[in-house]
Structures are given as C-alpha cells and as structure tokens.
C-alpha cells in the first residue's frame, strides 16, 4: 500500500504543472525583474501574469492590490503592524481566541507593548457571537483580524459580514485566509475586506511564498522598506520562481474549485461518517454545517492524539493532532480549549485534511485501520474498561491519582 497523505492543512504537494511553470525561472529566466535589459523582460512578464492569476482567484478589483510576501505569517504580521503604525492613536485590536499563532503570538507581543487585545471567545461549536463583536467595535480599534477558515476544525467565520460591520464603524478589517483560499470562492471586490493573507504552500504552490491583498486606498505602512519592489510596499528582490508557481497554483485552484467542493468533500464526508459509525466515543468537533470541504477534526475520547498519530503513521497514514504532546506543551490546542472540548477528548483530536490528490480508496484504507488503533490504545488506557469495552464509569472518579 502506498502512503496516504491526509495532512493538507499543514501543507500540500506542489502540483506538477506548478513545478513545470517554475523551472525556467531557475535557469534561463534568471534576470532581476527590476533590470532594464532583456534578461529581465521575461521575468517581469512572468510576475505580471502571476499577479493577475492571483487577482482572478481572489476576485480583487486591481492587480496592484496583490503584494507578494515570503509566507502567510509575513502577510499576517505586515497587516497588523501596518494598521497600528498607520493609526498610532488607536490602541486596541480585535481578534479571536482560535486564530493561528501567526496572529495570536504577535498580539501577545503587542499586548506587552501596551495594546489592548480583544480575543473573542467561541461557543462549543466554534462560533463567534456577532452581537458581542459589534459592541467591541469603536474608534479605539486599529484593526480587526479574524480568520476566514480555521486550520484545525475547518470552521468558517462570517468574515464578509464582519468586514461590513467593521467598515460601518470605521475600523480596518484583515482576514487570515490561508486555509480558505482555493477552497472557498471569493470576490473580494464586492466585500469590505481591507487586507487578506494567503500562503502558497496550502494550495499546491511551494513553501515560502505568500500574498497580502491590500485594498486600494487602505492606509498602509510597509514591514520591509528598501527597494521599490512591489511598488515599495514590500522591498526585497522578488522570489520570482515561487511567484510564478503561486500564479499557476491559483489558476489551477480556480479550475478545481468545483472538484474541491464536491469530490473532495465527498471523501471527507465518507471518512468522518465511517469513523463515527464504527468507533464508539468519538465525535466531530466544530461547526459541522459550516466548514471547509476538505477538513474534519475528530475527537477520540480517552486516548491521546500523538499515540494515535504514531500508529496511523505506522500504517502509512499521515494526519495531525491538536494534542498537547505533539507540540511539546502541556495543554491541548488553544482551539480545542476555546471550544471547551472536555479534556477527556481534547487530547485525542485528530485532523484529517484532504486535497484533490486523494482518492476514495484511501478513505477505505483509513476506515480499515482506525477502529483497531482506537481499540488498541483504549486497551492501555486507565480510563477505559476493556472487559465491558466502554469508558470506566465516571472516569474522573475511577482514577484517583495521589496528585493531579
């Protein structure tokens, strides 16, 4: 059996057509696009084409609204730091408790610098309270940053509506759309979103290339100053091959949008239904009716995520986990904690994320091994009663550690 890759929210395989588009830019098309000789011409044209391919996927009004960066994290940092530098009198930031660390760590840091950070909580399904959000909007807020889709659960936030609300209150709106781009159709020109982050490696382009969408007219301060690349908004000689690759990847994402939302979704649905039907005491986390088509996050109660991943890996299946142990911290993922998933389950969450390269037959392979993996680990667990094949009655009581 070949290895099965179900960790596409972590990163994706670069599409063959993307590699082919990139190759000339490592060899004959090596010129600096800023130069004025013929070595530069083709390169500058390559970048221009890529810019319009990205523009098309995002539904941006102008191609100059596309700024190439080095990754999703850089786009996130640029957006937030730009907003606070451009509006020095505004000392508050609104975000959510379930953002990627690219946003949350930066906000933690800014908090130390004196900013007030509003981290909006989510309910047990991972949903925001828009009424509470509305009350936070004020002329003290420099920027709202809310992710379009969550990387762990796939939950989709109503960013278009939230951008309207921010706009009405005169507040800038940024969204980390790293997981959403290529999976959710977008028409940014019809929204009030001011800034949006993209990362190439989540949509079959290489790692180390990103985009910041910057709506024309949005007040902006660059993160990197220097040369006039990207119209002075992101200095540094362009990563030409990767930019061309990202352009091609966006074109392909456009083509496969239907496929993603039908065939890919069908694989995801079959996998999660199969798991929940076959394995007792597991459940899907998040807002089930409002998710990315490719993602499912399943909590297996009374067993731990890293142990599950190691057994999956042995069976040739790659997935990921929100368990504490996979990150080396003592707490399960902040997303699981924010949704108030009970500890008996939060340590045992496994995320399966698909791409257009997966096949239905792979789903069947996973369904073949998953029940045995859960059973094997439960046999070892002090919270599981192997004789009755059920959790011990009242696990918190049955296990009485000398200390906790």
């Amino acid at each position: 059996m070949h290895d099965i890759y179900l960790d596409n929210n972590a990163t994706t395989q670069v599409d063959r057509a993307v590699v082919d588009a990139m190759m000339p830019f490592f060899t004959e098309q090596f010129g600096n696009p800023s130069s004025i000789h013929r070595f530069a011409d083709g390169v500058a044209r390559g970048i221009k084409k890529a810019r319009s391919q990205v523009q098309e996927l995002l539904g941006a009004e102008h191609d100059s609204e596309i700024i190439f960066t080095s990754c999703g994290t850089e786009s996130d940092s640029t957006a937030i730091l730009s907003a606070i530098k451009a509006q020095p009198n505004r000392k508050e930031i609104i975000t959510t408790a379930v953002e990627h660390p690219a946003i949350l760590s930066l906000c933690d840091y800014l908090e130390k610098e004196g900013y007030t950070i509003h981290r909006m909580p989510v309910d047990k399904c991972g949903r925001l309270n828009l009424e509470a959000y509305k009350n936070l909007l004020s002329d003290q807020v420099a920027i709202v940053s809310v992710m379009w889709a969550n990387n762990e659960t796939g939950n989709i936030f109503p960013v278009e509506q939230m951008a309207e609300m921010a706009n009405a209150a005169g507040v800038m709106f940024h969204t980390d759309a790293v997981q959403a781009v290529g999976k959710i159709p977008m028409m940014l020109q019809d929204t009030k979103i001011d800034m949006l982050s993209v990362s190439g490696h989540k949509l079959h382009a290489p790692k180390g290339i990103g985009v910041l969408y910057l709506r024309r007219g949005t007040r902006y301060r660059p993160l990197l100053r220097g040369g006039h690349q990207e119209r002075g908004r992101r200095a540094g000689t362009e990563n030409t091959a990767s930019i061309v690759g990202l352009g091609k990847a966006c074109e392909l994402a456009m083509e496969f949008m239907e496929f993603e939302n039908n065939q890919v979704k069908a694989m995801r649905d079959r996998l999660e239904r199969g798991i929940v039907e076959q394995i007792p005491h597991c459940f899907i986390t998040g807002d089930i009716n409002n998710r990315l088509p490719n993602t499912t996050d399943i909590a297996f109660e009374y067993i731990e995520g890293e142990a599950i991943l190691m057994l999956l890996n042995k069976a040739g299946i790659a997935a990921s986990s929100g368990s504490a142990c996979t990150s080396g911290s003592l707490e399960p993922s902040h997303v699981m904690r924010a949704m108030d998933i009970p500890y008996t389950a939060a340590h045992g969450t496994i995320r399966f994320s698909f791409s257009r390269y997966n096949k239905m037959s792979e789903v069947d392979e996973v369904l073949k091994v998953m029940p045995d993996i859960a059973a094997a680990l439960r046999k070892l667990s002090p919270y599981w009663d192997s004789v009755n094949n059920a959790p011990v009655t009242d696990p918190e009581q049955a296990f009485q550690p000398t200390y906790a």
Binding site: A307, M310, S323, C325, L330, K379, L380, Y383, T402
Partner: protein, 303 residues
C-alpha cells in the same frame, strides 16, 4: 514528529506488561486526564521478600508516556521495593536510549507512579512536590517554574545569572527572550526593574585557577564549592554530599528532594558548571549510584 529512539518506538508499538496485574497489592496513580498524561502502575509484591513479582501499567498519554511506562515495568520486575525506589527517571530515559527534552516528564511520571505504588503498599502517604511549568530551555529541558524559583532564591538579575544557576539559555540561546520575560516579571515583583546590561552577580566570585590542581587541592576546592551551594539546595529541601573524586569525575550523593527527581539532573548540571568555573578545568559530576555500575573504577578517570 518527535525524534524517538528505536527503543521508544519498540516499547510503544509492542508494550510490555500492559494492563492491570491481577491480585495487585500495590497501586500507584499519577497524572490526570486534563494534563494529557495519566499512569496507573499495579504491582504484585511478595509479602515476605518484598520482591516485585509482577508489574503492569495502564497509561493515557503520548508515545513516550506509553514507552516509559512499559520500560519501567520491565526494569522493576524482580527488584525488591528498596531497589526499585532507587530507579531514577534518568534510568528510565537511559533504558529507552534517551527522550527528547520536551518528553522527559514522561519518565518523571513513571518514577512518581512507582513511588506512589510503594507508598501505597507500605500504607504511607505519598506527596508529589514538584510543579512543572512551560518548557523554556529546550537544550537542557528547564521549565519556567524552575527558573522562576532560582531567580527568587538567588536574587538573579541577568540572563547570564540564570544560565549560571540553572543552565537554562546556555545552549542555542533561542530562549533568552523568554528568560528575560521571567526576569522582568520577578524583578518587578521584587520592586526592581530588569536591566539587560546589569553585571552578572557571579562575576566577582569567579577566579579560575591557572595551574593544574593536585588531586588534594581539587577535592578541597570541590568541597568548598559544594559548601557554598548547600544553602541553595537546602532551600529546595535537598542536599548534596561528595563521595569520591576519581580523576576529573566527582561522585556525589543527592539527598532529600533533589534525589531522583527531574531536578537532580539539572542540579547536577548546575553544580558541574559551577565547579568548572571555579576550578578552571573540566569536571564531570556523576551521581554516586553510577559508581557501582562501573566494571573497573579506574576506567572512570580515563573516560
């Protein structure tokens, strides 16, 4: 994924002694589901000889927690309770050919479950006394609680001080920002402010010897350093005793709270660092319990 040794993988994929021992007469439970790690150790102890005749584990936890539990049961089977109590978390980790620093707490949990089981057998109460914080220094596996306590106890002021006392930050230096944050916090609580350019409190004390030391001088110096460090150790409820010096290796007995806990390894590392600074030569500090393991004690001096 973690860089686990083959031994860890083997004990995880093929755990030994999984499940509860029937007719167990000693049970130790540590951890909790909220921490993501929980271990129940059950032992069948021979009432006459106190020999552990059978051992079984039930573990909720990651790969290394399961492997640590499995290897622990293998180590202690056939030992008397007193022998088993001497098993340290380093012994558990060593038997697994090492654990990543982030995972050392899995071996600590194994040792604690063992202590709890023995206490349960003997009708004693067992109390865990160490608290674990977020891992700060990944090179030397040192957590925030440890650093904070040392900063308080020794009035440390700079990152360099912290490195001298705890070793934290002495490796790749990536955690210096986090150490500064701890210093800022504690110093603020002490009513001072953190000054990154403050002189290290160690500086004036350190005068390295130029000439090579005779063995007698070396022993005397080591005794002096240990005497100076003793109040600090006693503040943590522990103590240290010099047992033997062979060549560049000092064998010490760690007693009290230092004995066997994860802290012991750090403390030993700290003592070693301090000795090297004062003596101006390479010194290896080894727990005296390791001495019996050497086939030929003379070899130690050439190791």
């Amino acid at each position: 994924m973690w860089d686990y040794s083959d031994k860890v993988k083997d004990h995880f994929f093929n755990p030994k002694n999984a499940g509860a021992v029937v007719n167990a007469n000693a049970i130790g439970e540590v951890g909790s589901i909220s921490c993501g790690d929980a271990l129940r150790l059950s032992l069948k102890v021979n009432e006459d000889s106190e020999v552990i005749e059978d051992a079984g584990f039930q573990t909720f936890g990651c790969g290394s927690a399961i492997a640590s539990s499995s290897v622990l049961t293998e180590i202690i089977k056939g030992m008397t309770l007193d022998e088993a109590l001497k098993v340290t978390n380093q012994d558990i980790a060593a038997e697994l050919d090492g654990l990543p620093p982030e995972k050392m707490h899995c071996s600590v949990m194994g040792r604690e479950a063992l202590q709890a089981a023995v206490a349960n057998y003997r009708g004693e109460e067992w109390k865990d006394d160490h608290e674990e914080g977020a891992l700060i220094c990944k090179c030397f596996a040192i957590d925030a609680v440890m650093i904070e306590e040392m900063v308080w106890a020794n009035k440390l002021r700079t990152v360099e001080d912290v490195t001298n006392y705890t070793k934290a930050g002495g490796g790749c230096a990536a955690c210096h920002e986090d150490i500064e944050a701890i210093l800022e916090k504690v110093l603020k609580e002490r009513g001072e402010s953190f000054d990154p350019t403050a002189a290290s409190i160690e500086k004036e004390a350190v005068v390295a010897e130029k000439k090579p030391l005779t063995n007698l001088q070396r022993i005397k110096k080591i005794e002096e350093v240990l005497t100076a460090l003793r109040p600090q150790l006693m503040a943590d409820g522990g103590d240290v005793e010099l047992v033997e010096v062979i060549g560049n290796t000092a064998y010490v007995n760690m007693t009290g709270a230092c004995n066997g806990c994860q802290m012991a390894a750090m403390t030993i590392a700290g003592i070693q660092q301090r000795l090297m600074e004062v003596l101006g030569e390479f010194i290896k500090v080894v727990p005296a319990s390791e001495m019996s393991k050497l086939v030929n004690i003379q070899e130690a001096s050439h190791a």
